[in-house]
Every structure is written in C-alpha cells, then in structure tokens.
Amino acid sequence: MTTTVRQIEQGRAASGPTAPPTPAQTPDTAPIRLPRHLLSAGDLNRATAEHVLSTAERIEQAIAGREVRKLPTLRGRTVVNLFFEDSTRTRISFELAAKRLSADVITFSAKGSSVSKGESLKDTAWTLQAMGADAVVCRHSSSGAPQQLSAWVDGHVINAGDGTHEHPTQALLDAYTLRRHLGPLVGRRIVVVGDVLHSRVARSNVLLLSTLGAQLTLVAPPTLLPVGVQAWPVEVSYDLDAALVGADAVMMLRVQRERMSGAFFPTAREYSRSYGLDGRRRALIAPHGIVLHPGPMNRGMEITPQVADGAGSVIVEQVANGVTVRMAVLYLLLSGEIEMAGGTA
C-alpha cells in the first residue's frame, strides 16, 4: 500500500506544465489532513479543499493512459454505500471511485426512511459498525442524517447528499471542473440559478466556492430562496439577465416539478421564461464562460437542450470528474490510516 501512496506522491512531483497551477500552497511542514468525516463543504478550509482538488488532479494523471484504470490503494478496505434515497448517478459514481481504488464495495439500498422499516438510523449504524465498514457513503432524504450517523460509527462518513442540506462531493467536483476551465477561482464570478431553497448542491457550492475565493450570485424567484440567505457570503438577485452579463460560469439547479404544488411559482412555463437558460441568455456570459448542471436535467424547464448540449457546456465532464474527485476524497480520508499501517509494517 505504501507503494501506492508513493506513486501518488510522485505524481505530485511530476505534475508538470499540463496540470493547472495550484494556488496557495500550504507550508510543507504541516501535513494537510481532512476532517474525520466529510459532512459539509464548510468542513473544508481553503488549504484542505485545494488539497482534495490537487489530489484529484494527481489521481487523474496517475490513471491517464493506463490500460487498467485501477489503483491498489484501498485494497482490503470496505466502503459501504448506504443509500436511503434513490440516486443512481451518485451511487454509481461512488461505487466506481471506490472500486478504482481497489476497495471492497457494498451497496446498501434502504429505500424510504429507516423509520418506515421499523429500524432506526441508530440500528443501521450499529449494523454497519458490526460489519467493520472503513468508510460509509451516506445518501439520505433527511437533512443531517449523515452527521447523526457519524456519531455512531467508527468509520469515516461521507455525505453523499442529505435532504435539503448539503452534497459536498458535488461541490468538490464542480470546483474541480470550474478550475480546469477557469484556473484559480479567486475573483471568478459564478451565477447559481434555481431552487436554492431546496438545493443541497447550492448550499455546498456556496460554502466551497466562496472558501476558494469565487464571487457567487444566487438567482431565484424570491419564493425559492431561504429566509436567512442574507447571512450567506453571496449576492442575491431576481434578475437572471443582469446577473449573467460577463459571468465566468453559470450553474443551473434542477427544479423539481412537484415544487409547483407548494405554490412556489405559478407554472413551469413562467418559471422557464424568468429563470430558464436559453440560447439568448447563454450568450450573455463571458466568451470563455461555461455552463454547469448537477443533473438530472429537466430539459426545456431550467435549461434548453441546445444550451445543455452546446459549446461551453461541461455537464458531461462533471460526471467524469465526479469519479475522480470522489477517489481523492476516499483516498485522503483513509490515507491517514494507510500511512500508519505502512509505518508499522
């Protein structure tokens, strides 16, 4: 295992001119450690966030051009994908990330709330604990469930999306994608559009991208912004056209059609007219600007197919980057133990 660590460390040394520059390098005396669990993008300060992103770059380089795209780093480790909510793409992304690091992967789909099954979250946690999971990737429809879980298991908990709270690895993959196209994010203007109120993607991106120095503007109908948004390190606008002018990137959020039953907006058509990204609006952003969407898209609702599939759309790339970034997170969370194991060997 130590060999693998060195391979990746060497990758750092070899990260030549092709790699995007890493901004604020931290003093090499203090090793950068992730928190024990990744529950919120707010758990990452600038140094740790950049460490995750640069580790993802090195992993990408280490794998690039290989016939077998698999590293032996997490051999013998068990990663449990604990999905209380359907999410094919996130589950597959984490599964692939763990497998490419040679971990044993168990997927535990507990659809619906644990309560409806009569088993408490705590019972589930103890089951995982008894199975000896080294990392638990938790997706849940209830905000805070991964944090509660982290109090009950010894393994590392990774929040893979909890209710309307956060989705930190989504923010990391978005930041990774943005950096590849825009370079360092300091001072970059990023517009996030849509259902901020219910969006875990928005919450994590607000925290992470502002930590990385980007300037964020949230655009949404007033009904889809949380009371209390004033305390966030962002600007808020109801005028999409004005916000888009000269922006470096625009991130469209999924708008669930069921929000209409909550009377958040009158009709999908009216939403689309005011807050949808079409070709005309796409042309307002900077020439080098890019378009992101965490998926799954409502084509024709928040984004037109032409824009989603057009130039400057990085939506497919986001999916690929998701695997890389999740490999980096798993590697870094578990690597402390790997180093220790290597030391005693």
Binding site: S113, L121, S143, G144, A145, R200, V229, Q230
Partner: protein, 439 residues
C-alpha cells in the same frame, strides 16, 4: 419517616419567598402555625423536625402544561412516573394535556387520568380536556360533560395541534363561558408550518431544515385575541415563543383582552443554534427560537406580559428521538429542570425575585386553571402545599437519573443552579429524603 398527612412536620428556619426565615408547622394537611407560634403549638412536640436553615420555601409549583402520556404511551411516561418527576421538580399540581391515546375528549378518559393521579398521590393531576373530538379540529368535544365530571375540567386544549379553524375557535371560546372554562391554544397556523422542522431563520437556511416561521404563531395569537374580545371569553396562549408574540399579547392586554400566556423554560434558555448538530433532543414544537426571542421572553415574563412558566414536559421514548431529525417526535422533558432554569434565567439576573418566581410558577398558573388549593399564601390555615429549595446548591442534569421513563432532556450534562430539597403535598412529603422517591 413514612410521612402521611396525619403526622405533623415542623420546618425550622425556612425563608418564605427568600425573605425573613421562620418556622412552619404542618399538620392535618394544613399549615397550622407559623413563626414563634409554631414551636409552642402542642402538635410540635411530636412533629418531625426539618432543619431548613438557608432554604427558601415557596408554595408548591403548579404546571399548566404537562404531558403524562397515559393512557396510550406508557412506555414513554405514566401518571406515576410523571407524578414522581413533578414532585421532584417541586410541583404539587400538574395539568395533563389530552393528546393521549385515546384522546382525553370525554368524561370517561379525563376521569380515568384524574383517578390515576389521585391513586399515585404524589401530585394533584388535573386533566385538560380536548377542545375537539380526537383533537381533529372538526367538531367540539363534549366540553360540558368533562367540566361536570369528577375531573372538574376547566382548561381545554388541542395542544400538539392548533384549533386553526376560526369558527370552531370562536365557538369553543363562547361555549366554555358557561362554566368559566379557558381555551389554551397551541398557536400554529398549519399551512404556514407544513413539514416545519425548526425556527425559520439563518440556522434553518444553513442546516437545510424546513422553517417554522414566527408569523405562524403570531398570526394565530392575534386572531384569537380578537375573537376573545368579540365573544367576551378567556384565552390562554400555550408556549409563547417569539418576540413578535410578546408584542401581540402586550397590545391585547393593554386594550383589556382576557388573555394569559405561558413560556417554557426551554424557550427562556435555549436557541435555534442547538439544532446545529441535528440532535433531535432539541427538536420541539414550537421550535427553539433566536437569542433575540429568548431575551424578549425573559423581559416579558419579568414585566408580566407573559403570566406564567409552564414546562410543556414532553417525554418521548428513545426510538422516537434517536432517529433522523425530521422523523423525530418534537418535545423535551421539563418537570425536574424547570425551577432551576427559571433560577438561572430570571432570578439570578435579577429579572424576578422569589415572590416573582412564586407568582409565575405557582400562584398565577393555579388561578388560570381555576384551582383553589394550590398557589396559596404561606400562612396559617392554608393548605400545606410547599416546596423547599436550596438556592445555593447546583446539580448536573443526567437524563438517565431523572424520574421520567424517558430521558429526552435538552440539559444533559449542564450544571444548573438551585435544588428542590423537599416537596409537601397537603403536609405529606412527596419528594426529598424520606419521601420514598429517589431524591
């Protein structure tokens, strides 16, 4: 020390309301003599002597808002365990909320709860009747039948749910005038709080939990005060929790509305920041609010805009709390910690003196509930319903050590000031050393 109401007790040197210490002789369920007359009374010779030097004595506390969970959820609390918790908290009377299974919406159920309380005998249990059948908010329960039952119900509430239908609320307010009843309203506009999980503000925005806006409480209180004026009835506001509600009640009182209001200890002390770790022990309805709200509530309690402190003691079995935040039941224990929290938030900062504590925790709740034997002066001839408090002591809260069957205290591990040394119900010790209850 198997005290019973027949045995005389001489309490030496306790300070009524924290004022001049004096002796109190209890016999036959009454305070029979005070001061110098106590020790020369012939009954003092055989009395058990309690050295109460340094202790404060108040009239036994009265809780207008308790959930005893029986019948229906005897795994969470029973009349017996809740009575023990009440006695240990310094209470001699509690009003039991009707959201049991079955609902306390008939004379039969309220009489059952009343009888259970009397059989346990640690505290007087006064059932609150449901306003509507099954607390469903559709049609009035048989309020007069409950009022005329052995339980003698005077307080009616659908607590847990709001009587949100304006016409039904009007009718309830009107109807209870016939027997001087009062409607205790759980003020929560249901449409504004669909799926609500915590106070709507900066913390809910950060945590991604659905917001419970202050206006959903304030709008109902404002409406109900106007209805109360219109029909000339009496309204009690349960667990008032926001600064805006204080303003609404203050304005109503100023124009003469017959409204009273309660605040819970947890709304005096804790804020919505507690939700940050997603520990459902801090989930409660109405939710914990902001620091600005707690400050306004303390001031309103000191000024008399808020009349009383009521615990909203809400035991929940661990399986209903050790779950996801949005699946967890709202509510927290309060009976054994209420007095200490009031000492901490009101007495120590000088917002209330001991007279004030007696007023908000005993005298006024007794009056609102229509009781005649509780919240009385500490004087010869009065019922011997008393609590002895060590104001200098402090204790560390442990849910497992509380008398409730549940352990959902939000004060776990906190050191709180003031300690109940003994509680007397009609001269019989119900809590404290020798009471037969863990002290």
């Amino acid at each position: 020390m198997r005290a019973n109401s027949a045995a005389a007790v001489l309490i030496r040197g306790a300070a009524p309301y924290g004022e001049q210490p004096l002796d109190l002789l209890l016999a036959g369920g009454l305070i029979v003599a005070t001061g110098a007359a106590a020790s020369v009374d012939e009954r003092a010779a055989a009395a058990e002597i309690i050295d109460a030097d340094g202790l404060v004595v108040l009239p036994g506390l009265v809780d207008l808002h308790t959930h005893l969970r029986e019948p229906g959820r005897e795994d969470a609390e029973t009349v017996e365990s809740g009575s023990a918790a009440a006695a240990l908290g310094g209470y001699t009377a509690v009003f039991a909320m009707p959201n049991t299974d079955p609902t306390a919406d008939t004379a039969g159920v309220v009489e059952q709860v009343y009888r259970l309380g009397r059989d346990v005998g640690l505290v007087d249990v006064f059932p609150i009747g449901a306003v509507t059948v099954g607390r469903k908010g559709e049609r009035l329960a048989e309020l007069a039948a409950m009022a005329n039952s052995a339980a003698h119900v005077r307080v009616f509430s659908d607590d847990g749910d709001c009587v949100s239908d304006a016409l039904l609320m009007r009718r309830a307010l009107e109807y209870v005038k016939a027997f001087d009843g009062v409607i205790a309203q759980h003020a929560q506009e249901p449409r504004l709080t669909q799926g609500a999980q915590m106070h709507e503000g900066e913390v809910s925005a950060r945590l991604g939990l659905a917001g419970w806006p202050a206006v959903a409480e304030e709008a109902i209180i404002a409406r109900d005060c106007l209805l109360t004026d219109h029909v000339g009835s009496r309204l009690h506001v349960c667990h008032l929790s926001t600064a805006g509600s204080v303003e609404v009640v203050a304005a109503a009182k100023k124009r003469g509305t017959a409204v009273t209001a309660e605040v819970t200890p947890h709304h005096l002390l804790l804020t919505d920041e507690r939700a940050t770790g997603y520990d459902p022990v801090f989930k409660v309805n109405p939710p914990l609010r902001t620091a600005a709200d707690t400050a306004a509530l303390r001031k309103a309690l000191a000024d008399g805009v808020i009349d009383i402190v009521a615990t909203d003691h809400a035991p929940h079995a661990s399986q209903d709390k050790e779950t996801e935040w949005d699946n967890a039941s709202p509510g927290m224990l309060g009976l054994q910690t209420a007095l200490s929290v009031v000492i901490d938030t009101m007495l120590r900062p000088g917002l209330l003196d001991w007279r004030g504590v007696a007023r908000v925790m005993s005298e006024t709740p007794s009056r609102i509930g229509g009781l005649t034997e509780h919240g009385r002066p500490i004087a010869a001839g009065e019922p011997a319903n008393l609590v002895l408090i060590d104001p200098a002591a402090s204790w560390t809260v442990s849910g497992a050590a509380l008398a409730s069957l549940s352990a959902n205290t939000p004060y776990e591990g906190m050191e709180l000031p003031g300690r109940v040394v003994a509680t007397y119900l009609r001269g019989r010790r119900t809590a404290g050393a020798g009471a037969g209850v863990a002290g």
